[in-house]
């Protein structure tokens, strides 16, 4: 896992909203969609967290300090920060899904007084896979935010925390479901289960938001790759209100 800080050259970058993404190019290799994962209060620093999984992400991760990369963006619809104002906010993240939510968490904590309870529920595969661990520990010391981390599996010797899927954390959390906005990002299967668990807990589908991932080539609605039924995830998402895509999510391989 690599976190890149990009210093823009050329025209001043358009301020990005939490949940938006950029298209990053490793010259000669290709381009990949990568979420902004930094603190939106520092717009001059474009922060991206990248998992090296294939040719482009590997090439981006291998860039040395000072090297040039290509950037287009920001793209897409982000998290509904304005709608969250005055309400409890439940954040559910799985794996790398914490990266695009990190921007939202920074925003919530910077403007802490605008929101009700703030809960961050995060599931990682193992203790070694926990992203932004130091930052999570710092946030945990605050009294005005609840941070819970669970792992799928761990040896007793190196983990004292929760074990199990992220949805198990929901039962323990205290918030007012009728007045909550939930932000969910992670593998699709995790988001399906999380959305269902949130609904069971009483959070309305209209107040639950998911960030979808698909193969993306253009990010501007022209290449067709990111179609999900009627929507283009690059243009209409990646963040969607759950009730708007719940019916689509019921179909496998759509």
């Amino acid at each position: 896992m690599w976190t890149l800080e990009i210093e823009p050259s050329g025209p001043a970058p358009v301020a990005a909203a939490p949940g938006q993404f950029n298209m990053l190019t490793a010259f000669g290799v290709g381009e990949a969609a990568i979420s902004l994962s930094g603190d939106p209060a520092e717009p001059g620093r474009l922060v991206h967290t990248i998992r090296a999984v294939g040719p482009v992400s590997r090439a981006l991760a291998q860039l040395r300090p000072g090297a040039a990369l290509g950037l287009r963006g920001p793209f897409g619809a982000g998290w509904p920060m304005a709608e969250a104002a005055g309400r409890d906010v439940v954040i559910m993240a799985g794996g790398l899904g914490l990266a695009p939510l990190r921007t939202a968490i920074h925003r919530l904590l910077t403007e802490r007084a605008r929101y009700g309870q703030v809960l961050v529920l995060y599931g990682a595969r193992s203790p070694a896979d926990i992203l932004f661990r130091r930052e999570l520990e710092t946030w945990r010391r605050r009294l005005d935010v609840e941070i819970e981390v669970t792992v799928d599996h761990a040896a007793v010797s190196d983990w004292r925390g929760h074990v199990g899927v992220v949805t198990t954390l929901l039962g323990r959390a205290s918030f007012d479901p009728a007045n909550t906005v939930a932000l969910v990002c992670g593998p699709e299967i995790m988001m399906r289960f999380s959305a269902a668990a949130l609904a069971d807990a009483g959070v309305r589908a209209e107040a639950t938001y998911l960030s979808m991932e698909r193969n993306m080539k253009c990010a501007i609605g022209l290449c067709g790759h990111c179609q999900f039924g009627p929507v283009f995830i690059c243009r209409d998402g990646p963040v969607f209100r759950y009730d708007r895509i719940a019916a689509l999510l019921r179909h496998k391989e759509l």
Binding site: F27, G28, G70, G221, L222, F232, R235, H251, E253
Partner: protein
């Protein structure tokens, strides 16, 4: 009407000459490799005179006509998208100097095409792609340059192909919009002639220069009869007014498994379809890593790579890929662009190696729909 006149084959040659004088690159039908394809043409002698095409699902064959018609065929494997939205388009080049990289965008093409023999369904397909590339928040500069420069000479179909269903899709056989000049070829035993109608100011200007005569009532009636005969002899039919609801309510229909057993997922249907617009990008660089470039090329939702994400392909099964193709064409396209993605040209039937017939697939679902509640 003074924007209609009658040309002979010699008059048609004058049209080609006039377009060439105006700087157009003339592209039209010609016989090559056993098919009628779109390619650069010089003039009337290049046209597929006396040829027609016999088409059925999975089958295409050229045949001689018993007359010398120039446009007496339906359509071949090519469509005009090959020129407006070419299969490979470079987007930019870059050059690295030290830690700096300079990017030079590919300038939009200055080429001005004159398309000869554009059918009604093809005009509709161009309008559909206009919506994709020009109708949204992001306009594609390459498409726009080629599209705005183009001069369109349409032809009313005198012969419906065996796989045509433009009447069902309300996209033909009469050309009604989007052309500069429209021809109707008349082979009624009298003089071999073309009724020509101008559809734009530019078309009117060209037409005024051509050695034609005014159209008579008889010419216009003969032209009308041609289109009516074609409309009455469609190779296929498909009810189209309820496809959006029908298909989206049947996303888990067993027919998708059945068609997936036959489908080779070769993607031919997407390559020949005049509205399919999907592309991928490819980057390449020189060995030293100094210069690199990005190109986009046609892609197809039938490939596994199309939906590749790090955990695998979203649409791994043939069932899901055929379903994506057909439901996109006939249903979700309407959500996205306000129009169907199918113009009823029949190419996907003809050029499918195993003869899968989209009209038949729709019929199978329509005749035996799933219980309510299966859809979105």
């Amino acid at each position: 009407m003074d924007n209609q006149s009658v040309l002979t084959a010699a008059g048609l040659q004058a049209l080609f000459d006039s377009l060439r004088r105006r700087g157009y690159r003339i592209v039209g039908p010609k016989v090559r490799d056993g098919a009628i394809v779109y390619d650069d043409i010089e003039g009337v002698p290049d046209l597929p005179q006396g040829w027609t095409d016999e088409q059925a699902p999975g089958r295409y064959r050229l045949a001689r006509r018993d007359d010398e018609a120039l446009f007496g065929y339906a359509i071949g494997p090519h469509s005009w998208k090959a020129f407006l939205h070419p299969s490979v388009q470079r987007l930019w080049k870059s050059r690295r100097e030290g830690e700096e990289v300079a990017i030079t965008p590919e300038p939009p093409s200055a080429e001005r095409f004159a398309f000869i023999g554009v059918r009604a369904c093809e005009l509709k397909a161009i309008a559909v792609q206009d919506q994709v590339f020009l109708g949204g928040a992001h306009v594609d500069a390459h498409y726009r340059a080629r599209r705005e420069g183009a001069f369109v000479v349409a032809v009313n179909c005198a012969e419906a192909g065996g796989t045509c269903f433009c009447v069902s899709m309300k996209s033909g056989p009469r050309v009604d919009a989007g052309y500069d000049l429209a021809l109707t070829e008349i082979m009624d035993g009298g003089e071999h002639r073309f009724v020509v109608e101008a559809g734009s100011a530019g078309g009117g200007e060209v037409l005024a220069e051509l050695p034609g005569r005014a159209a008579t009532e008889g010419d216009l009636a003969a032209a009308e009869a041609v289109v009516e005969r074609t409309a009455a002899s469609m190779g296929r039919q498909m009810r189209s007014d309820d496809l959006h609801e029908l298909l989206l309510a049947n996303l888990e229909h067993p027919r998708w498994d059945e068609v997936a057993d036959r489908c080779l997922t070769c993607g031919n249907c997407t390559m020949v379809c005049p509205t399919c617009f999907c592309t991928s990008v490819e980057d390449s660089s020189d060995l030293a890593g100094v210069e690199s470039s990005r190109s986009r090329r046609w892609d197809s939702c039938f490939t596994m790579d199309f939906t590749h994400v790090p955990s695998g392909s979203v649409r791994a099964s043939a069932r899901s890929r055929y379903r994506q193709w057909m439901t996109h064409k006939l249903a979700t396209w309407i959500d996205q662009f306000g129009t169907s993605g199918c113009v009823g040209c029949g190419r996907c039937l003809t050029w499918c190696p195993v003869g899968i017939d989209i009209t038949e697939e729709v019929r199978a679902i329509r005749d035996n729909p799933m219980e309510r509640g299966g859809g979105t």
